[in-house]
């Protein structure tokens, strides 16, 4: 899926967050969005996902305007705000994933996905007994259930220890290699383990710096 952002501006009330951002994300790209807190990283994601309504500027998905776009299952989204989930009610990992398979197109391969993420053994564990890293990977598996074209990860490594971080990035890299477009939001992460194709740096003064790099086997620049 090609995502075309054209002259996007967004403000909360009178406080401008993004001004005049334009960028095209091609199918199979790995975009890292960096910036300090308050630079608009999550705001940008929310605009892309239709969670913030875009009034200034335009976003197109494969040439279709965001306001006419309905195929949201083509996106997998792991939110930074994990608080919206109710962890207190007893729920196993398997139950969570089974409840989440509602689309008829879903491949129903959560066991395979859990195995790929290295967390198959927690299938019957209660959600509230998992570590931050395990939980994060469970949510990525859930986001992958509909076999989306684009996977958006907002601060995914915030609660993962160093050892698991490397494993996590290897997994995301292999998802990207399999053809998924990845949009990764981070404010602290070094790019050492990331096979990115583009880095978008957002600043508090609302300037945007986008750098691209050529990776072997990739055609993005």
């Amino acid at each position: 899926m090609q995502i075309d952002i054209r002259n996007l501006s967004f403000a909360y009330g009178h406080r401008a967050i993004i001004t005049g951002l334009s960028h095209t994300i091609n199918s199979g790209d790995y975009l890292v969005v960096q910036g300090k807190n308050g630079t608009g990283k999550t705001t940008l994601v929310k605009c892309l996902l239709g969670l913030n309504s875009v009034k200034n500027g335009m976003i197109f998905f494969d040439g279709l305007d965001i306001n006419s776009f309905k195929q949201w299952t083509r996106f997998g989204y792991v939110s930074q705000d994990l608080d919206s989930f109710n962890y207190e009610f007893p729920l196993t990992v398997e139950e969570l994933l089974k409840f989440s398979i509602v689309s008829r197109k879903a491949p129903h391969n959560y066991l395979k996905l859990l195995d790929e993420m290295g967390i198959l053994e927690i299938l019957n564990q209660n959600i509230n007994s998992l570590s931050g890293g395990q939980l994060q990977r469970v949510f990525i598996v859930r986001a992958m259930l509909n076999n989306p074209d684009v996977l958006i990860l907002d601060e995914p490594t915030a609660s993962i220890d160093a050892q698991n971080k490397q494993f996590f990035y290897e997994t995301v890299n292999s998802l990207n290699n399999s053809g998924k477009t990845i949009i990764l939001i981070t404010h602290t992460e070094s790019l050492e383990n990331i096979n990115y194709t583009h880095v978008m740096n957002l600043s508090l003064d609302m300037s945007v710096d986008i750098k691209a790099r050529v990776l072997e086997g990739k055609f993005t620049l």
Binding site: T73, S84, F85, F89, P90, L91, T92, F99, N146, P148
Partner: protein, 291 residues
């Protein structure tokens, strides 16, 4: 023997058997829908809808004083209509106060209480308020029993057909859209079904106790459940136990049935909480000894 007398009367006195059958159905329906209510962190919602449903009943009684008596025998229909209106109002206010879900309920409960008081007073039927506030499962009619059974079928069908969607929306609203779920549709569908349950159970459970029957067994089930499924089953078992022993207590000691049932619910909750605490404490002390 008080217990034997209850069991003998259960099979010889039709009204008691009818109340028991209704109780068994309510015992399954209330915690089933209550589970979703708890997951959505909206435990006060049944109370709120009950207050709004009461407006419909008060309006029915008032209309009968004006000579419009079609709703007098079955005030449940206007009760249902008002419960649905209350449910829609809650959703609207909830969107206006996104991070303060409880505000929407306080607003709707205030409107419901005020309008109920006005229409009961206009109808000069304030004396009948007690029956609606506390309910009585013992005095329900055959007609009401049929309505309760139909409501149970409705709730069961909802869970069989749309269970996944409703639970996904309830556990994690923001992500539902990316799973292919129409968030608005399932929020409104759930609200309508909850309104039906509340208005149908109003006569037997009462406005003030309906929430207790939905929420307390689930609160107890959560203490011992290890998964969603086990928690739901345990909640239903606790609920059925409270119906049986509540009806027995009501029959034996001449207590109001709703109050007796909820009292057993509370006893079960406290017992479960205390036992769980003792088990955890024992495990910790064993671990300390091992160290």
């Amino acid at each position: 023997m008080i217990t034997l007398s209850f069991l003998q009367d259960l099979f010889t006195q039709y009204f008691l058997l009818r109340a028991f059958v209704a109780g068994i159905i309510i015992g399954a329906v209330a915690p089933t829908i209550g589970t979703v209510v708890v997951v959505r962190r909206l435990s006060f919602i049944a109370d709120t809808l009950g207050h709004f449903s009461l407006v419909g009943i008060a309006v029915s009684l008032y209309l009968s004083t004006l000579g419009i008596s079609i709703f007098f025998e079955t005030p449940i229909y206007l009760g249902l209509l008002f419960a649905v209106i209350g449910g829609i109002l809650i959703e609207l206010f909830r969107r206006a106060y996104k991070n303060y879900k409880e505000i929407s309920m306080v607003i709707v409960i205030s409107i419901g209480s005020t309008l109920s008081a006005i229409f009961f007073s206009l109808a000069k039927k304030t004396g009948s308020l007690y029956a609606y506030l506390f309910g009585s499962i013992i005095t329900i009619s055959n007609y009401h029993l049929v309505l309760i059974a139909l409501t149970a079928i409705l709730v069961l069908s909802m869970f069989l057909i749309f269970g996944k969607q409703i639970l996904s929306v309830s556990f994690d609203e923001p992500t539902a859209k990316f799973l292919g779920i129409n968030l608005n549709l399932f929020q409104i569908l759930f609200m309508i079904i909850l309104s039906v349950v509340v208005s149908v159970l109003l006569e037997s459970a009462g406005v003030l106790l309906i929430s207790s029957m939905m929420i307390i067994p689930v609160a107890a089930g959560m203490r011992v459940g290890w998964s969603f499924r086990s928690t739901l089953i345990i909640s239903i078992v606790f609920s059925e136990l409270s119906i049986f022993f509540g009806l027995w207590g009501s029959h034996a000691f001449d207590l109001p049935s709703g109050a007796a049932i909820v009292s057993v619910n509370v006893i079960i909750l406290l017992t479960v909480a205390i036992i769980k605490k003792l088990i955890v404490r024992r495990r910790i002390s064993k671990l300390d000894k091992l160290k």
